[in-house]
C-alpha cells in the first residue's frame, strides 16, 4: 500500500474505530455503506485531508461514494492535489 493510502487508513483507525471493535479495515473496506463512518462524522475526515494536503474539496465532490473506501479517498486527494 502506498504512503497516502496508509496515512488515510491510519487516520480512519484512529478516528473511527472503537477500542473494543475488532473489525478489520483495509483499503477496500466500505467505510460509509459498511457503517464504519457515518455521513455526519465524515466531516472530520474531509477536514483532515484538506489540512494535511492543503487542498479544498468542494462539498459537491465530497460525496458518501467518494469517501467510501481508502482507495476512493486517495483518488479524490490525488485529483485535488494535482488540480
Amino acid at each position: 500500500m502506498d504512503e497516502l493510502k496508509q496515512m488515510i487508513l491510519d487516520y480512519v483507525y484512529d478516528e473511527y474505530i472503537e477500542e473494543d471493535d475488532d473489525r478489520e479495515v483495509d483499503e477496500n473496506t466500505p467505510l460509509i455503506s459498511g457503517g464504519i463512518v457515518d455521513s455526519f462524522s465524515m466531516v472530520s475526515l474531509k477536514r483532515f485531508l484538506e489540512n494535511k494536503f492543503e487542498i479544498q474539496i468542494p462539498d459537491a465532490d465530497a460525496s458518501p461514494e467518494a469517501f467510501d473506501t481508502v482507495v476512493s479517498i486517495a483518488e479524490l486527494v490525488e485529483r485535488f492535489k494535482n488540480a
Partner: protein, 415 residues
C-alpha cells in the same frame, strides 16, 4: 393527476425494498392505557393479548397515573382544550410559565422554555445560539434529533468517539480557534443505556473554554439521587449550559419538551428557535398533567428508588440466566445478540411468550450490534420481571445463546 402510476409504482418499489431488507416498521395497537401489562392487538385484527411491556419509556410508571389524569381533567376544565396559537402571539397561559419555572427549579438551571417536543427543542436550539464562527463537537452516539438540529445550524460540526474523553480533548484542542466550542452529548444514551461522563466533560469544558449541552430525555425524573438527571448523578448541577429534555418519557409520557439552562441562551431560543416560533403551544391539558408530575417527583423519591431496585434486579436476573448485557446502570438494559435476524427472531418468540420487547439493528444501532433493548419501569412488580426473565430463559435455550459471550455469539450466528 400529478400522482402518476409511475410515481405510485416507484414508491411501492421503494417500500418493498424496505420490507425485503427487514427494516419495515409496523405499529401494534394497544387497547388500554400505558402500563406494565397491556392489551395488544398484533398483528392487526388478531385477538387481544395481554403482554408485559418491556419497551416503554414509562420509567416512573406515571403515564397512566390516576392523580395525573385527574389533574389533566381539571386543566381541561379550567384552561380549555387548545390555544389555537403559537406561544408568543396568544398561546401562553399562566400554567405554561409555571411549568417552566418548576422545571428550572428541578433541573437546577437558570431558565426554561417549553417546546412541542424534545425533538423540536433539539431541532431549534443549536441554530438559535451558535453561528458559523463556532463549532459543535458531538458524541458519536447522540440521538438522531440532535444530529438533525446540528444539520440546521451553520456552526462547524465535529464528533468524538463514544464517551472517549481523550478523543474529545483532542478535538477541543484542535478547535481553539473557533469563537465558541459546544460539547454535545446525551445524558443517558438511548440505545446502550450508559451514562455520559458529565463530570469529566465539565472539567474538559472548563479547561478548554467550551459550552456543555446535554439531552437528558432518558434521565430526567430518575437518574441521580433525587432524579434530577445525569448532572446530579455526576455532581455537576449548575454547570451544564443547556439541558434539553422531554415530558414524553418518565415525566408523564404525553408530549412536550424543553430547553433549560443559562438564562441568555434560553432567551435566544425564545427569540430565534424556529420550532418554538412556528409551532403551536403545548396543550393546556398536557401542561396541567405535567405540573402534577412535578408535584409527585419532587415530593418523594419513592418511584425512582423503586425503578433503581427493579433495574438492579432485572440486570442480575438476566446475567444469572446467561445473557450478554451492555454494562450500565440505567433502566435501559440491552440484551446483546449482534446478529439482526437473531434479534428479530428472539423478539418474535418473546412476544409469543407474552413479553413485548423489540429488536434493534442497523441502521438504528451500528452494524453487528443488534440487540433486544429492554426498559424497566417503576410500574413493574417483581412478578412481572420474573415472568419476563423466564421467557428470556426459555427463548434463550431454544436458540442456544445462554452463557455465550460476544465472541461466541458472533461465531455462532454471524454479525
Amino acid at each position: 393527476m400529478a400522482y402518476s402510476d409511475t410515481a405510485r409504482k416507484a414508491y411501492q418499489d421503494e417500500l418493498n425494498s424496505i420490507r425485503e431488507a427487514g427494516l419495515f416498521k409496523s405499529e401494534r395497537f394497544i387497547h388500554d392505557l400505558q402500563d406494565a401489562e397491556i392489551e395488544v392487538e398484533f398483528p392487526t385484527g388478531a385477538e387481544l393479548k395481554t403482554v408485559i411491556n418491556m419497551c416503554a419509556n414509562n420509567y416512573l410508571g406515571l403515564s397512566g397515573h390516576e392523580d395525573i389524569i385527574t389533574a389533566a381533567h381539571a386543566g381541561l376544565d379550567h384552561r380549555g382544550y387548545g390555544m389555537s396559537s403559537v406561544r408568543f402571539i396568544c398561546g401562553t397561559q399562566d400554567i405554561h410559565r409555571e411549568l417552566e419555572n418548576r422545571l428550572t427549579e428541578f433541573l437546577g438551571t437558570e431558565d426554561t422554555l417549553l417546546f412541542p417536543s424534545c425533538m423540536d427543542a433539539n431541532a431549534g436550539v443549536f441554530e438559535a445560539v451558535l453561528t458559523d464562527e463556532d463549532v459543535m463537537i458531538a458524541d458519536r452516539l447522540v440521538h438522531a434529533s440532535i444530529i438533525d438540529g446540528m444539520r440546521l445550524c451553520k456552526a462547524m460540526n465535529d464528533s468524538y468517539k463514544h464517551s472517549d474523553m481523550k478523543h474529545l480533548e483532542r478535538k477541543l484542542e484542535e478547535h481553539q480557534d473557533r469563537r465558541y466550542r459546544m460539547i454535545i452529548t446525551d445524558g443517558v444514551f438511548s440505545m446502550d443505556g450508559d451514562l455520559a461522563k458529565l463530570d469529566e466533560i465539565v472539567a474538559l469544558a472548563e479547561k478548554y473554554d467550551a459550552l456543555v449541552f446535554v439531552d437528558d430525555s432518558h434521565a430526567s425524573g430518575f437518574i441521580g439521587k433525587t432524579g434530577r438527571g445525569v448532572h446530579e448523578h455526576c455532581g455537576v448541577v449548575g454547570k451544564i449550559d443547556i439541558i434539553t429534555t422531554t415530558l414524553g418519557k418518565a415525566l408523564g409520557g404525553a408530549s412536550g419538551g424543553c430547553v433549560s439552562g443559562r438564562a441568555e441562551l434560553v432567551e435566544m431560543c425564545r427569540q430565534r428557535a424556529r420550532p418554538y416560533l412556528f409551532s403551536n403551544t403545548v396543550a393546556p391539558v398536557i401542561v396541567s398533567g405535567a405540573l402534577k408530575v412535578m408535584d409527585i417527583i419532587t415530593s418523594s423519591t419513592e418511584r425512582r428508588d423503586k425503578l433503581e431496585a427493579n433495574t438492579k434486579y432485572w440486570r442480575q436476573l438476566l446475567t444469572d440466566i446467561g445473557l450478554d448485557l451492555k454494562a450500565g446502570e440505567s433502566p435501559i438494559v440491552p440484551v446483546m445478540l449482534y446478529n439482526a435476524k437473531l434479534a428479530q427472531d428472539v423478539a418474535t418468540d418473546l412476544y409469543d411468550e407474552g413479553i413485548y420487547a423489540v429488536g434493534f439493528f442497523f441502521p438504528v444501532v451500528p452494524q453487528g450490534q443488534a440487540r433486544i433493548r429492554t426498559q424497566i419501569s417503576a410500574a413493574h412488580e417483581i412478578h412481572h420481571l420474573d415472568k419476563a426473565g423466564e421467557a428470556f430463559r426459555k427463548v434463550g435455550e431454544k436458540y442456544g445463546i445462554l452463557g455465550l459471550g460476544k465472541k461466541e455469539l458472533i461465531e455462532k450466528f454471524g454479525m
